[in-house]
Symmetry: C2
């Protein structure tokens, strides 16, 4: 109950502050971002000291190195956060766009305009840079930000918020547009996720477990990000060179991210010719292979180590250098496999045949289909969004990378001269 009223209090203050944003000019919002960039650079030492406290505690607690790396701030990383804020300041204003305009016979003028959500919560893990990235994207899109990071990053987050608040304080915008939610307390997270009517949207960012728990527990609207069991389907019409390059890039470029490939599907007509090339390339890249019986047979002949895939393999998001390999009878069978085991994130087809491409792009129910391109391109930066707050893995509101525009909703402004409904 105490947590509930604390969150209600914070959310209400954030909503009042958000009005100063909704009513501000593009220039004023951009100035906030530039000030934040400057203050981050001015307070390098302060931020680094706080981060060293978190790092020391993390080491003492025996937290693994990958997590420690995410927690770590360096001069370069802080400078790069500042630069990101300046880059976002340069992007077009996502607010006030007129998406639809109609003049009706009765003289009414209709405008559908983009407006902020209002109060947006972010729930995330160890990375303190998310504190700044999320705040900057939300401010630019006119939203107040309730930021709930990990307890591991408490000191870093507190200093980053303090520095950003200072940067906002010198403008006409209320500094209460960013609020740090205490991260040590489970009840506070629950209160945030159930603050229906006070919080307009919550975006979880982090591990599959974090996202799942947020989506399950939340009664406020959420945008699910994340889970990606992505496939590369190599059609019988494929150019083999393209296929190998795309396969290796999709799997190996950055195996830990959601748009990395987990399964290779090969058209049965080319299995004997293409699979030896693919298995060899995967083995050379140190990728562990889980194969169906036919593909394992081919690997065995080539003395390439391959495990027999289990039913569980096909739906596993490895996040490491590990991949499933299967043959499929045709493009429709590839679609069936993907529909059964995929997560509707990103699916790639390598093919020269236009009909195969058309069927694959029409029937795959996913955020992005890559035609003769790596799955790794499902990314706000790569797709020209300029900035990204996450990748939506759901169908409502936003699908795929989410930039500034996706952090807005709309309102209809209907202007008349006394019209009433007959």
């Amino acid at each position: 109950m105490e947590a509930t009223s604390m969150i209600a209090e914070i959310a209400k203050r954030a909503r009042v502050a958000a009005r100063t944003l909704a009513n501000s000019t593009t220039e004023q919002r951009n100035q906030v971002l530039l000030n934040i960039a400057d203050e981050l650079e001015k307070n390098l030492d302060l931020i680094l000291t706080a981060n060293q406290q978190d790092m020391a505690a993390a080491k003492a607690a025996g937290i693994n190195e990958s997590l420690q790396d995410r927690l770590l701030l360096t001069k370069e990383r802080i400078t790069s956060m500042a630069q990101a804020a300046r880059d976002i300041a340069k992007l077009p204003d996502p607010l006030g766009r007129v998406l639809v305009e109609r003049n009706l016979d009765n003289g009414l003028n209709l405008k559908q305009k983009s407006v902020p959500f209002g109060v947006v919560g972010m729930v995330y893990e160890a990375r303190p840079n998310v504190t700044v990235d999320a705040a900057v994207i939300l401010i630019k899109s006119g939203n107040a930000a309730l930021l709930r990071g990990s307890s591991t990053a408490t000191h870093s987050n507190e200093v980053l918020i303090k520095v950003m608040k200072k940067a906002i304080a010198s403008t006409k915008i209320s500094e209460e547009i960013i609020q740090l939610i205490p991260s040590t307390d489970r009840a506070t997270a629950t209160a945030l996720l159930t603050a229906r009517g006070l919080v307009d949207l919550v975006i979880p960012r982090g591990s599959a477990a974090l996202i799942r728990s947020v989506v399950d527990e939340a009664t406020v609207p959420t945008i699910e990000t994340g889970a990606g069991v992505c496939h590369v389907y190599v059609d019988k019409s494929a150019d083999f060179d393209k296929a190998i390059a795309i396969l290796i890039n999709s799997k190996c470029d950055r195996p830990s991210v959601c748009n990395a490939a987990e399964t290779l599907l090969v058209h049965q007509d080319i299995v004997d010719k293409f699979l030896p090339l693919a298995l060899d390339a995967l083995a050379k890249s140190a990728v562990t292979i889980n194969a169906d019986a036919k593909s394992k047979g081919i690997a065995d002949k080539l003395n390439i180590k391959a495990n027999l895939a289990t039913e569980k393999s096909w739906s596993t998001e490895y996040g490491t250098l590990e991949i499933n390999v299967a043959q499929v009878s045709d493009v429709m069978a590839a679609i069936e496999h993907i529909s059964k085991y995929g997560t509707n994130h990103t699916e790639a087809i390598v093919a020269e045949d236009k009909d195969a491409i058309s069927l694959f792009t029409t029937l795959n129910d996913c955020a992005a289909v890559m035609v003769n391109a790596s799955t790794r391109f499902t990314d706000g930066g790569q797709m020209g969004f300029g900035a990204e707050i996450g990748i939506s893995n759901q169908k409502m509101h936003a699908r795929g990378p989410m930039g500034l525009e996706q952090m807005t909703t709309t309102t209809w402004i209907v202007s008349g001269n006394g019209q009433i409904r007959e």
Copy 2:
């Protein structure tokens, strides 16, 4: 558990059937709609007989007259359902629209295209016309429809589904794109609302209680429709004639619907002049008045009956000829009142002053703002959507009236020539 597996079975069949829709042409989908219209008219007697069974049961159960009227089908009502299907067939195809197209420096072509959700559930009450309206909108937008009406309308709904399936059977589309969910069983509704991954979206349509229970219980994505505590704010700069016409139309044209007004807010500078006119017009329209102390004083002097409003009055959606009246100190105070008691549906301002209008349209966080027009215009038909499946009262995905376009999601099609991420 039985209900869960039944719903899973139905949803899976619907998803397979939905592929025949996703892969169909605009003409094929329109033909389905035209066939539905024809079959409805051919089977008038069959439908009327089934409806008479439902009506007899409703009368025997002592169901109130307003509900009986919603349940009733007549020759005219069925003809009008058929006509609606023909009208929707004429509307532009919401699928395959290219919403964004970009060519990147690396040669990739990006297209964001509109695609169906997939499997959409509708949960609604007594009105059997929703069975046809929803099916037709969902088919046109490429979605399979899981329809869960009220047990009161069981016979009517069963016949309507049978007739529509017959109409679909003569086309290349699978008739399993429409499925009636048994309505007598509470467990079945729960199974539908928690069929995460099998059902893409559920839209509740009906009473506030129905909507609330769907939103609370669902783990599948939902679009909340409905509740409207709408306000008419009359500024000191208002044209009084426009204000009276808009007030009476907003309150009295159809008090039972969500876009009817529940509260009149009047700028304090014009209370003495405008309120006597407004109270008189409301009294003449037989509207029960709940007023703040100042307004009640004015009513008392005029011998117009007015109750003293309670704290609860301000947040009540009456749905009848009853209204709240309050004075506010200025446009900002009106916004504060609306923010405290409103439901973010539709808010109207009557004003000639451009600054007042600008502030009101900027700071009201709602689906639609009416400037010198009746709140009754928040309606798909009135706003040129052609058809409406409900009015969204939330911020994600769709806000305000929902037509064909709102029943689609998007996918990114990224076309390359072997590009990989460097």
